[in-house]
Symmetry: C2
Amino acid sequence: MTHYSEEMNRLKETILAMASHAESAVARAMRALVERDDALALKVEADDTIIDQFEIEVDDLSIHLLTKAPLATDLRFITAVMKISQNLERVGDEGCSIARRAHDLNAEPQLKPYIDLPRMAQMAHGMLHDALTAFIEGKPELALTVIPRDKEVDALNRQLHRELSSFMVENPATITRCLHLMVISKCLERIADHATNIAEDAVYLYEAKDIRHSAQKNQ
Amino acid sequence: MTHYSEEMNRLKETILAMASHAESAVARAMRALVERDDALALKVEADDTIIDQFEIEVDDLSIHLLTKAPLATDLRFITAVMKISQNLERVGDEGCSIARRAHDLNAEPQLKPYIDLPRMAQMAHGMLHDALTAFIEGKPELALTVIPRDKEVDALNRQLHRELSSFMVENPATITRCLHLMVISKCLERIADHATNIAEDAVYLYEAKDIRHSAQKNQ
């Protein structure tokens, strides 16, 4: 194995490790919410620096590899990794926002059992996981299954937003808690957006077809 | 002038044109809000495809130029352009969100005169403009002035959020309108975040110093 391909493998491993930290941040923030675990919420916030460091490492490795990339397909792969790293860094930030709101919510009585939010989190997690697998393993057909799922998460977010709005009107005492829940719902919706961006990058890379901003998104 | 440097100039011109469309989307969305101009709000949403097309054009030009970039500094410049384009595309999306909420708000009586939101918009616009000038004209010292301004926009967003929360508790009939205004405030706060990302890229590029996720941000 040449030195170059070893370094390309290192880049892949680094972006996968970064993804696993970002996924874990979201999963733990949701657990902090559902299990009302404050210590866990604080841990998620503290661990965000690890994901931030990964972003810097991915950029440095990528710039270094761009100077030696022999093929145009390699250039495309490396620049896609840099974009994905930016998306994962934001997934980590969304995880932190969820953790902060979980912390605030844990200080007050729980409004009702959490059903929709864990469901949205599970959907967003599945999208992120499939988008990354598609990207790393070169499976554009898997990436294409991610894109329509974004609409489902959007719909759940809108539905929850409507329900919480009515709840606030009926019980003004719940307004602060409802606002926290709306923010968490929006965070999950944005994580699904980041997964969609990654899936679009995978399709672009392997099918040389740019489906960003196309009708495909509106399936 | 060689062919390569002509193409580099074209890349710079393209990212500047994209930036001017993104800035204009936000400025027009804010005008649609303040002047209660529904037609303008719809125009902003329709024009988002222009910004989306710019993102594709910037990526294609960048990938093409990466295959011929002679120096590591050029590689860094080109990959920074790709990241900035992703940020500008999102600024355009935030402009659309503001336009949509302006449209919804225009259907109801105005709550109160808009003072804080136009001020936040002006601050975010100034940050975006300075970050791009710093990037294109190679002025890291200008980029460094952008970063602390993000905290001011964050503080304004939090203050407005608090005010609107109290308003909702006191007047539940205003809840829907207050929620729209909170979303607009958050959109402006995110535009300032994108400007900060661009400023950080400019500092990294010209001072070879990675200030993302460092104490500098918390000045």
